[in-house]
């Protein structure tokens, strides 16, 4: 038995790596987050908006509890967590040891800039003579050899690109803090970790390899990421889509799908490109309604939650779709327009001219993946992606090493984040015995004084070299500060952030006896933790110091008007002094946690979630409404990879039965739930009406969904018209009985008016059934009538295999579905064949309908739990991408088909992710709120309840005995919605009291 180490190495700080590291850090493990880039975020910071809602909610990844330990700012900028050690510019050199106890050698490439001295002032980049294409803008713009990766990147310290640096030394001369050292050595360190999570992401296929499309040769042929950067507000054109040759808005844009994927060399689907092409098409159409947008595609794979509606939105906006693969692009040398040659479905050649062409380049394993995967010793597939295990998407061939996101298979953000949660769950399960071994206890807040002492405010003004003084006369500001009430000391420093200055500042504050401190310096992200530590050492309560930004929001944006900028700085300082004078030390109230869980539904998702919790040591109540566990998977006999679901599910059943931590309640429902995250009390009601009350800290909803019973195509009137599920049972139990023709119809009860969502699983179901028919009787003809074949990622190979074995795929339009005429003797199907003129008539011996799933009546449960359903009756997550298993009510999570249609391996990953989110709560003895929380002035409260309905987090309720509104501080997220809603000003936000805001208004005017 190895001694397990309570730390996990996460490789790749993209969105998956961030999620995994945060999930582990929040459940008692130390995480080393390594990235080869100088900053966090991976591909995500390059994107401005995300499908399927054109929004950005990256910040939702941040923790809900103990928020103060983690910077509460936009995640594009910063991520600080006491249990996460970020190692940028770093790579894995060697991995030794075994699951539970690995030793990893990490090489960190020196950035040649001392981070503790860099102020991010940009003087170095201004003098650097080397210009190279900027990766952040995908080569559309130039950057210097000394640079920050993105204007928002954190750490925002400059970094020297060694490949292109000429060592001319100009930057060294201008650097005001002597931060640059071209001899700064690389570092190598060994860390001990119990598990490793690989989230190394992908690299975009180099479209120039497909010479026929002229990428890199024709100015107006771009890839998706470049268009993304053009549409981004922070990009070269500040959000205008201007084509490179003449900087004009294109009148006609063509998108080409599947560039570098779904071909002979890479026979997999890149999964996310249909969606981001749709997004870019929608953004273009919204911005330039007159621009024609045409998408050349093979199958439109909009299969995730909410994606089909997004596809419809694009159609409604007038985006056109052409089902064809473009063979070649030619450039008109004069106009730089592009001539596309393609063949329509009916065989005619089409030539059309475009102003701009966008290539959807595939996701490929990253350039360093081979080296990394060898160092890790994990198996890879034929294309170099890490091989996942059957059923368990995040398990690799090596125990203790897990994978998520595009490192294992092309994935979008939503699925990557789910897998990241699942990978964190695997690692946490393996290391459950080492939980809390290496994490630091929350730093004790300083019990300073204040209330009975006199208020003494120290003001420290940073000049940031010349950066602030160039626009603000800091001497005048300092003089002015002396005159402000309660200000006892004012100090100007040249560079606040330098270690020696901070030491000085600490001493002078201690000496002056100040009990409140204001720093006038730069944006709060940069030095939040650094200043926080200094203040703690100086004995200043965390709520009694404040940073005002006079650099990014003042000196750097008002360079031309020193007089006005100085006046503004004075006013802002006066306002902050007013605000901090009224500030009381804020205390955090912890709330106890019942370290048990309730899982509702004992299908595959529910059982996996319960086992994940139990294996991490948490007692779990598993409630199932039917007598049998297993749910829909209990009726499945094989899947695309021909694994055996029955063996898998029986194994789960056995484990659930044998687990001493799981209490299974069959034929039972949940009838009442009270309380809040960390402390719920629920009433279970069995079939015989007996009730049980249980107390628990988290809830996972895994109630599944139901099969759609078709009303279409004469189903139920003829025993030769069956569903895919019935076909599977037939094939397994009785064999086909040699029919000579089988016809399958796709999208029955999905992607239609009543069900505007893709069922995600039925294309795979149809293909595996077709393959099995062909195996049983090769002479049987199989037709698959479809609208799009949705075999994403490596499912694509099975689609190819099906075509190779002679399965015929015929595409029809939604408006022109197949006609079925069934009698006792024969079934005739007529369908429009896009290739042949007129209708194709097929006499079938068996007609198989690929039916979707529909939700059961979830309303009662949704009401009991106070969580929401979406338009289609599935349980709604807070955010499809970044919080895919969280409901709006903290402590309640969702997974499996109750949330959306998914394949079995995806449901398993989602169940693990949900379990890990629950563990984030259950692994603590108490939940800590943030310092800034809302409170109630009981004397003013009129018990009207408006604040209760306003609160989006269920953090308020009405105390019936005292007739007053009450705040649950652990749940309160400090949005302040209650403050604005309260008609009596009884709701207040600590640190942002009305009095404070109003005094700020007075002070700045």
């Amino acid at each position: 038995m190895v001694d397990k180490v309570g730390a996990v190495l996460v490789i790749g700080a993209g969105v998956g790596g961030l999620r995994a590291a945060l999930d582990l850090a929040e459940s008692g493990f130390k995480a080393y987050l390594v990235d080869s880039n100088p900053g966090i975020g991976g591909t995500v910071p390059q994107l401005d908006k995300w499908f399927p809602d054109n929004g950005c909610e990256l910040c939702k990844l941040l923790p809900v509890f103990s928020r103060d330990g983690c910077s509460q700012f936009c995640l594009r900028r910063d991520m600080a967590h006491p249990n996460i050690e970020l190692l940028p510019n770093s790579q894995i050199q060697e991995v030794t040891g075994e699951a539970g106890n690995f030793e990893v050698t990490i090489n960190s490439v020196s950035r040649w800039v001392k981070t503790e001295r860099c102020t991010g002032c940009r003087l170095c980049a201004e003098v650097c003579p080397v210009e190279v294409p900027d990766e952040y803008n995908d080569g559309l713009q130039l950057r210097k050899a000394i640079y920050v990766r993105s204007p928002q990147a954190i750490p925002n310290f400059y970094c020297i690109d060694r490949e292109t640096c000429t060592k001319c030394g100009k930057c060294i001369e201008v650097c005001p803090t002597n931060a640059i050292d071209l001899n700064l050595p690389d570092e190598s360190q060994k860390v001990a970790v119990g598990a490793i999570i690989v989230s190394s992401g992908f690299q975009e296929f180099d479209a120039a390899e497909m010479g026929q499309y002229g990428f890199n040769r024709y100015a107006n042929v771009l890839n998706n990421l470049q268009v993304e950067r053009l549409l981004a507000s922070g990009g070269r054109t500040t959000g205008e889509l201007l084509r490179p040759s003449d900087e004009k808005v294109p009148k006609k844009v063509g998108f080409l799908q599947c560039v570098g994927s779904r071909d002979t060399e890479r026979n997999y689907c890149s999964t996310a490109c249909c969606m981001y092409t749709l997004k870019e098409a929608i953004l273009i159409k919204e911005k330039y309604p007159d621009t024609e947008v045409i998408i050349f595609y093979m199958d439109m794979r909009a299969f995730g939650k909410g994606y089909h509606r997004y596809y419809q939105q694009a159609q409604e906006l007038g985006v056109k779709f052409v089902h064809s693969r473009v063979s070649v692009i030619r450039e008109n040398p004069k106009t730089k327009n592009l001539l596309l040659l393609t063949r329509a479905e009916d065989g005619t050649d089409i030539r059309s001219e475009y102003d701009l062409v966008v290539l959807a380049a595939a996701q490929c394993p990253s350039a360093r993946a081979t080296e990394l995967n060898q160092a890790l010793g994990v198996d890879v597939n034929q294309w170099g992606f890490i091989q996942s295990q059957d059923w368990w998407q995040t398990r690799t061939s090596k125990e203790g090493i897990y994978v998520c996101g595009s490192a294992a298979a092309p994935a979008d953000i939503a699925d990557s984040v789910i897998q990241a949660g699942a990978a964190a769950c695997e690692a946490a399960t393996l290391l459950a015995s080492a939980r809390d071994q290496l994490v630091e206890a929350e730093a004790e807040s300083v019990a300073s004084a204040a209330s009975d002492e006199d208020t003494k405010v120290a003001v420290i003004i940073c000049q940031c070299g010349e950066e602030i003084t160039a626009a603000v006369n800091t001497a005048q500001v300092a003089e002015f500060a002396q005159t402000l009430p309660d200000v006892t000391s004012v100090e100007e420093v040249r560079f606040l952030c330098l270690p020696e200055t901070l030491e000085e500042v600490k001493k002078s504050i201690t000496k002056s006896g100040a009990n409140r401190v204001i720093f006038a310096a730069c944006a709060p992200y940069h030095y939040h933790r650094l200043l926080g530590n200094t203040m703690r050492e100086a004995g200043i309560d965390p709520s009694l110091w404040q940073l005002v930004n006079i650099r990014e929001q003042l000196a750097w944006v008002h360079k031309d008007d020193q007089a006005q900028a100085t006046e503004k700085a004075k006013k802002i300082l006066a306002a902050t002094v007013d605000r901090i004078r009224g500030q009381e030390p804020l205390r955090i109230t912890p709330m106890t946690v019942e370290q048990k869980a309730l899982v509702i539904g004992a299908g595959v998702s529910g059982m996996v979630a319960a086992l994940s919790l139990a294996e991490q040591g948490f007692e779990t109540y598993l409630v199932e409404k039917s007598a049998e566990t297993g749910g829909h998977a209990g009726e499945a006999y094989y899947n695309l990879g021909n694994e055996d679901p029955q063996a898998f599910i029986n194994d789960l059943r056995k484990k659930v039965k044998n687990s001493s931590q799981i209490h299974l309640y069959p034929e039972t429902g949940v009838v009442e739930v009270n309380g809040r995250s960390g402390n719920f009390s629920s009433i279970l009601k069995a079939a015989d009406d007996t009730t049980t009350e249980i107390i628990h800290g988290a809830i996972i909803v895994a109630t599944g969904a139901e099969d759609y019973v078709p009303t279409e195509y004469q189903y139920g009137q003829n025993d030769k018209i069956i569903t895919q599920k019935e076909l599977q049972q037939l094939l397994v139990k009785n064999g086909l009985g040699k029919p000579t023709t089988v016809v399958m119809i796709q999208c029955v009860g999905s992607r239609d008016e009543g069900h505007p969502y893709c069922n995600r699983t039925c294309c795979s179901d149809a293909i595996v059934n077709a393959l099995n028919i062909k195996e049983q009787s090769p002479e049987t003809e199989v037709y698959v009538l479809n609208r799009d074949i949705i075999t994403y990622a490596f499912r694509e190979e099975y689609y190819s295999k099906a075509r190779e074995t002679g399965v015929l795929f015929i595409r029809f339009n939604q408006e022109d579905p197949p006609e079925v005429n069934a009698t006792d003797k024969a079934i005739t199907i007529r369908v429009n064949d896009p290739v042949l003129p007129g209708k194709l008539e097929i006499d079938a011996d068996l007609l198989v309908l690929s039916t979707g799933i529909v939700t059961g009546d979830n309303r009662a449960l949704a009401e009991t739990l106070s969580i929401e359903l979406n338009e289609d009756g599935f349980f709604r997550e807070v955010d499809t991408k970044f919080r895919p298993v969280d409901t709006a009510i903290d402590g309640i999570f969702i997974c499996g088909r109750a949330n959306a249609p998914r394949n079995l391996d995806e449901e398993i990953a989602q169940a693990q992710a949900a379990a890990q989110r629950a563990v984030n709560i259950l692994s603590r003895k108490e939940l800590q709120s943030g310092r800034i929380v809302s409170e109630v002035n009981a004397r003013r409260c009129s018990y009207c309840g408006i604040c209760v309905t306003t609160c989006p987090f269920n953090a308020r309720w009405l105390d019936e005995d005292e007739h007053v509104a009450v705040v649950d501080e652990a749940l309160c997220q400090a949005c302040g919605a209650c403050v604005a809603a309260c008609p009596n000003s009884a709701a207040k936000l600590r640190g942002y009291r009305d009095k404070q805001i109003l005094s700020v208004i007075e002070a700045v005017l």
Binding site: P45, D48, D53, N54, G55, C56, E57, C59, K60, Q72, F73, C74, R76, R77, G120, R122, P151, Q152, N156, S233, G234, T238, G239, A523, Y525, R551, E552, Q553, L554, W556, V557, H558, K559, D560, Q564, E567, K568, A575, V878, A888, T950, P952, F953, Q973, A974, C975, G976, A977, V979, A980, A981, L989, Y992, I997, L998, V1000, I1001, E1002, V1004, L1005
Partner: protein
Amino acid sequence: MAEGNNGFEPKIIGFLCNWCTASAADLAGTTRAQYPPNLHPVRVMCSGTVDPVYLIKSLLSGADAVMVGGCHPGDCHYVSGNYKARRRMAMLQNIFESLGLDANRIWTRWISASEGPEFAAAVREITEETRKQGPNPLSTDWAL
């Protein structure tokens, strides 16, 4: 300087949400976008916490215009705060109009954290428009 209001420098208060618009204001600085110094930023956690009283108080105390900046609709860190702000601002403008007050002095802008240039442009626009409108009569005209 705009015509007719020579030398008039409008005073504007901007209530900026912590997650999006205040971040955008910082980004505008990082990229050195220049905009007039007339807007005084007040960082709040969410646009949904901005009580109309803050805006009225600002206008009565001498501000020539007020701005609320939040995340794009649908993107709120706190699920729905910006929707609440949006309704509240629309209502406040209605109330201003029905009282014969200048609803054009109340601005709402949705600016995400990556939209530094948008923030600078918004401040320029609001400053210019307010300059054209001239000083806010509310701050001195107590007959109202």
